[in-house]
């Protein structure tokens, strides 16, 4: 089984624990000295980094939440001066303010290494032609995958925003052997292959790396059976930021976490306490090698469970099973996380007022997932010209699509269309189930 960095990935468990402790302590020392947010948090709890004497002591430190990014926008969580930062990434947050993360040169090298090891575990090698097709909301991941694949010296077709038909044309004509995409987009691509009567055997595709969404076994089975490709799941976060923090190996018994760079904890989302090994809970991550943007105990909102025991692949990196539901009210559309509060902020900005009645739905059309926003037609939105109302829908749709990084459609609805008189605080998922496709 291919292993990119045997020294790190197969390191003796006891030695790794020592390495993690050393890296954790130096990360906490840097965060405490250089980031007022972390220093204040620790001081509020009466904790100093020198009191963290074991990995388990990390539990004494408060969690970092997604909201903390907005409150420290844009550079408040950076631990190095801006001059040391060689790349700045923006990801969606829960408010109008996005999440900003930075990389030093060594940080970029770390992420390149992590992506390379994850791709290598999926059998990606030098002769491969690798095509990256993710939604604009995951554009940063496109870059990371390009860098990681180039480290393996594969030929990379970098992320370009094209229609599914054009992506399929590239896939066929350029003889792509590895496709990196979200599960939803893979499903759409598979549907398209058969819709245009393309024989899957004409494709050179052998590997599909699925990112951004918890694994759906039905979709994976269909990719295997109908497209004759091997699907592999990678776990990542746009906030940490990076894809391929955890990856599948040939043994397919969970996703190996690159815990030499990111320390995982699984906690009870209600109490914040550690769950017994093997029990499901929320994944909490602490970066161990990041210089510019260290994250301490970041609550991911992703539900996982630690897979006990050693893996037959020989890696000693611990494994997680990525479970389908989230612990928060974020929704994932084509790998991109969306929060109802963020949609509200965007609507308020675009309309000048907060719409009194709305509903947010995730739907799919031709297997293409999108966000549908229902707005009640009231005096503020009503126009006696249909054209004007259509224009408004188009403008709002365009603005929200651009901001959220996923397709958005606006529907103006009459009062009777809303089930409740109170606006919903959630995004309802009305996507077609896979079984309804066949």
């Amino acid at each position: 089984m291919p292993i990119w960095n045997t020294g790190e990935e197969c390191l003796d468990v006891e030695e790794r624990a020592q390495l993690q402790l050393e890296r954790l302590q130096s990360t906490l020392n840097r965060a405490y000295r250089n980031v007022p947010f972390y220093r204040n948090r620790m001081q509020d709890q009466g904790i100093e980094p020198s009191q963290i004497e074991a990995l388990a002591d990390l539990r004494q430190i408060p969690f970092t939440a997604r909201e903390d990014f907005s409150e420290n926008y844009p550079y408040g969580l950076f631990a190095v001066p801006l001059r040391d930062v060689v790349r700045i990434h923006t990801a969606q947050g829960t408010s109008l303010k996005p999440t900003v993360s930075g990389f030093t040169k060594p940080d970029l090298a770390v992420w390149r290494e992590m992506v390379a090891r994850a791709l290598f575990a999926a059998g990606v090698s030098k002769p491969d032609i690798l095509q990256i097709d993710v939604d604009p909301g995951l554009i940063n991941w496109g870059r990371a995958y390009k860098d990681g694949a180039e480290a393996i010296e594969s030929s990379v077709i970098p992320l370009t925003i094209l229609t599914p038909e054009k992506q399929l044309m590239l896939l066929r004509d350029y003889k792509t052997s590895v496709l990196i995409t979200s599960q939803s987009a893979a499903r759409q691509m598979m549907h398209l292959v058969f819709r245009v009567n393309l024989n899957p055997n004409e494709l050179a595709l052998k590997t599909v790396i699925l990112v951004g969404e918890p694994p759906d076994i039905e979709i994976q089975n269909r990719l295997r059976d109908e497209l004759h490709v091997k699907p592999w799941v990678h776990y990542g976060l746009s906030e940490v930021p990076g894809p391929a923090l955890a990856f599948e190996c040939e043994a397919r018994q969970g996703l190996h976490v690159s815990e030499d760079h990111c320390f995982p904890e699984v906690v009870d989302p209600a109490t914040g306490g550690a769950v017994p090994e093997g029990e499901p809970g929320e994944l909490v991550l602490t970066t161990l090698t990041t210089r510019a943007f260290p994250l301490v105990r970041y609550r991911t909102g992703d539900r996982v469970r630690l897979v006990p025991g050693a893996c037959s692949c020989g890696r000693s990196l611990s494994r997680i099973e990525w479970l389908p539901t989230r612990t928060d009210d974020m929704r994932v559309i084509r790998g991109v996380k969306v929060h109802h509060q963020q949609i509200l902020y965007l609507l308020e900005r675009a309309l000048g007022v907060l719409p009194p009645h709305y509903r947010f739905l995730i739907r799919s059309e031709d297997l293409r997932d999108f966000l549908e926003v229902w707005l009640k037609v009231d005096e503020a939105l009503f126009s006696d010209e249909v054209k004007e109302m259509e224009k408004l829908c188009l403008r709002l749709g365009r603005e929200l699509t651009q901001e959220l990084g996923v397709p958005v459609k606006i529907r103006l609805k009459e009062e009777g269309s809303f089930h409740s008189s109170k606006p919903s605080r959630h995004i309802d998922d009305l996507r077609e189930r896979l079984s309804s496709e066949s």
Partner: protein
């Protein structure tokens, strides 16, 4: 091979080392860099048993060193090349070298001591030429070679060096560091403390940066050499230069 966990060292009530964890794996050359007073030498003294007032854990080949006297630690396979060399100045080079093997004479290890003498003189041919000369009459570079050779006479598996480049001309620094590379290639495990951060990181596998008794950065030596923080603080780049122009 060496694991240090949560080391806290005290001089009276002053805490000179404040929760340091580091490790040296078999065959590695590790550089520990930091400014004057960061706690580098204190750390080495704790490992060698020269400092008794410390908390935490120091494991050498999985065995704790706490409570052991320096001779017992040398016998376990740890040798120190101290800062300032600390040679026996009036004694000859040869006698200084033999003193390095003092604990082995008690074990009547004469045959291997003679072989080791031959080996260190091969490593530093100048010591053969000066064998009968008083150590105090050697040049700075030669004294440093003698100090390293003396430490090697104890047949260590882990060699600790405290500022071996101190007070030496650049070409001698290069010579000493090249010797360390040679020793590493022969399988020696080395923990090197240096103020000359660039030189140390150039030959090391990994490095740790110690500031005010705490590790603030660690990683592959190449990464540390490229790190702006390290450049600013230890490689001679003007600190202010990085803050002017951009916040």
């Amino acid at each position: 091979m060496l694991r240090v966990r949560n080391l806290k060292c005290y001089y009276g009530k002053i805490r000179a080392i404040n929760g340091v964890s580091l490790s040296v794996r078999q065959g590695e050359l590790i550089a520990l860099i930091g400014a004057n007073g960061a706690g580098k030498s204190t750390l080495l003294q704790a490992i060698c048993g020269l400092l008794s007032h410390w908390d935490g854990q120091i494991l050498f080949e999985k065995e704790p060193l706490k409570g052991l006297k320096p001779p017992a630690i040398v016998q376990r396979g740890v040798s120190l090349v101290p800062e300032g060399r600390l040679l026996f100045a009036p004694m000859s080079v040869l006698d200084n070298l033999k003193l390095g093997a003092y604990l082995r004479y008690r074990k009547r290890d004469h045959q291997r001591i003679a072989e080791d003498l031959e080996n260190v003189m091969e490593l530093f041919p100048v010591l053969r030429e000066r064998a009968e000369q008083a150590a105090g009459t050697l040049s700075g570079g030669e004294q440093q070679m003698l100090a390293i050779a003396r430490a090697l006479m104890a047949r260590p598996r882990l060699l600790l060096l405290d500022e071996p480049s101190m007070g030496l001309a650049p070409f001698l620094v290069r010579l000493i560091l090249d010797t360390l590379v040679q020793l590493k290639e022969q399988g020696m495990t080395i923990l090197l403390i240096e103020q000359n951060a660039r030189a140390a990181l150039q030959i090391a596998d990994r490095g740790y940066v110690l500031e005010n008794g705490q590790i603030v950065l660690d990683g592959a030596a190449g990464d540390l050499l490229a790190d702006q923080d390290v450049k600013r603080a230890y490689l001679g780049k003007d600190y202010r230069e990085f803050y002017e122009g951009r916040a």
